[in-house]
């Protein structure tokens, strides 16, 4: 399990996030889960995700979250 999957599991342990490509539409993450996930990602990856990037489009799937985190890791 990679860091993003671990972060997702820590927020909603009841779901298998590898089975979905639309966490929001499938009811696996709500707006407040996104906030908690950002706090978790900031801590785990040593980044500071900007508030303006906390939008549903960036949190739909493991792939979109990886792209988001990747941008910050690259910038660092």
């Amino acid at each position: 399990m990679n860091g993003i999957e671990c972060a997702l599991q820590s927020i909603r342990p009841e779901f298998d996030f590898t089975t979905s490509t639309d966490f929001i539409g499938d009811g696996m993450l709500d707006s407040y889960d996104m906030v908690m996930l950002v706090a978790e990602l900031d801590k785990s990856f040593g980044i500071r995700l900007a508030g303006r990037d906390i939008v549903p489009e960036n949190f739909r799937s493991i792939s979109t979250i990886e792209q988001l985190v990747g941008r910050y890791e690259k910038a660092a």
């Binding site: 707006s31 407040y32 906030v35 908690m36 900007a50 508030g51 303006r52 906390i54």
Partner: protein, 359 residues
């Protein structure tokens, strides 16, 4: 819109908070969510204690408590009040204005100006703009600016998105002309096309309250609320703040010819701790310069959070000294506003409880 004022100052500030205190951990069972998720949310958002009115307490009751306190302590004389500006989203009645209720209840003079402004989280700034403008009139020497909300009465106790953060409070700021000619720079933007992101749908003339509007409905996130209750599109509001506020502050400082380092405090409206932390990061401002401790101690009291932040964090310093403060409010409307001004020394700066007695 950029605004500039001269020779204006806040000369005293009093905050009134209900003595009735509730803890997030005691309310978690009301929410349709597992305790572990709620506790994680508490940690990130800074939910802990909030102050709420207990029973049918109105805006005029909180404001009246504060004004009587000032009269009793001779910090303010009734006859000196030339204008009373009340900013609230929870008026006592649709009509008459709450400012008129307060004027009558406290026996203020007739030869004065009373007005209400319907504004929320940017309400302290909006009220200051209006107070500064009123002071252009020679007949007006002292403006009492009241910001007050008792919105907890219109938030569902089963709405995890709004109830844990809500707080009730009133503030009374005395606004007067000053000898200091240094400019007060301000800015204001409004976008009514997004006004439904924060609203109470029922209870006005568009959708009067009925038994149907009081029925609780479950949203897609498991929150229960009625159309009589406050509803907030959390994602949209969060994104609005993060996108609009940092460039507004940058532009304000540029207009004022000031740097971030020259500002002692960034005293922003406080919806929750996470929102403020992300704003501080985006603006590259140290957290120590942007207090984010209002929600955890008192809750989010809309336009009163900036006065609460001042009274809670700076009251001793402002009794004798001066700070250069950047104020910002953002929310209902949608409205976002900011101001760069000197605060202090104040003749009074205090925070008092509201006892459970009514006007």
């Amino acid at each position: 819109m950029n605004l500039t004022f001269h020779n204006r100052a806040i000369t005293g500030l009093l905050v009134v908070v209900p003595s009735h205190e509730r803890k997030f951990v005691d309310e978690m069972a009301n929410f349709n969510f597992p305790p572990a998720r709620s506790l994680k949310l508490k940690q990130v958002m800074g939910y802990d204690t909030h102050r709420l009115v207990d029973g049918p307490v109105c805006a005029s009751d909180l404001a009246g408590r504060g004004l009587r306190h000032l009269f009793k302590n001779r910090a303010l004389q009734r006859e000196d009040i030339d204008a009373l500006v009340v900013v609230t989203q929870s008026p006592d009645y649709l009509m008459p204005p709450t400012s008129s209720i307060i004027q009558g209840c406290l026996g203020l003079k007739q030869d004065m100006f009373c007005m209400d402004i319907s504004q929320g989280c940017a309400g302290f700034l909006m009220g200051l703009y209006q107070a500064f403008l009123l002071l252009d009139q020679p007949a007006i020497r002292k403006v009492v600016l009241v910001n007050v909300d008792v919105l907890s009465r219109r938030v569902s106790k089963q709405d995890r998105n709004s109830y844990p953060l809500i707080g009730d409070a009133a503030s009374i700021a005395i606004v007067e002309r000053s000898d200091d000619p240094s400019p007060i720079h301000a800015s204001l933007k409004m976008d009514g096309s997004r006004s439904r992101a924060l609203m109470i749908p029922a209870g006005g003339f568009k959708e009067p309250s009925t038994p149907e509007t009081a029925v609780l409905e479950e949203d897609s996130e498991g929150n229960l609320r009625a159309r009589d209750h406050l509803r907030m599109d959390g994602s949209a509001v969060f994104n609005f703040v993060q996108v609009e506020v940092p460039p507004m502050i940058e532009a304000l400082l540029r207009t004022a010819g000031a740097t971030r380092e020259e500002v002692d405090y960034f005293l922003f409206h406080q919806p929750n701790r996470f929102m403020l932390q992300k704003l501080a990061e985006a603006m590259n401002v140290p957290e120590a310069k942007m207090p984010n401790n209002v929600v955890e101690h008192y809750g989010n009291s809309s336009g009163v959070t900036i006065p609460v932040a001042i009274a809670h964090n700076l009251r001793e310093r402002l009794m004798t000294g001066t700070v250069r403060a950047c104020l910002a409010g953002f929310g209902v409307g949608l409205t976002w506003a900011s101001m760069l001004m000197k605060l202090g020394p104040l003749r009074f700066c205090d925070l008092i409880d509201f006892p459970e007695t009514v006007c």
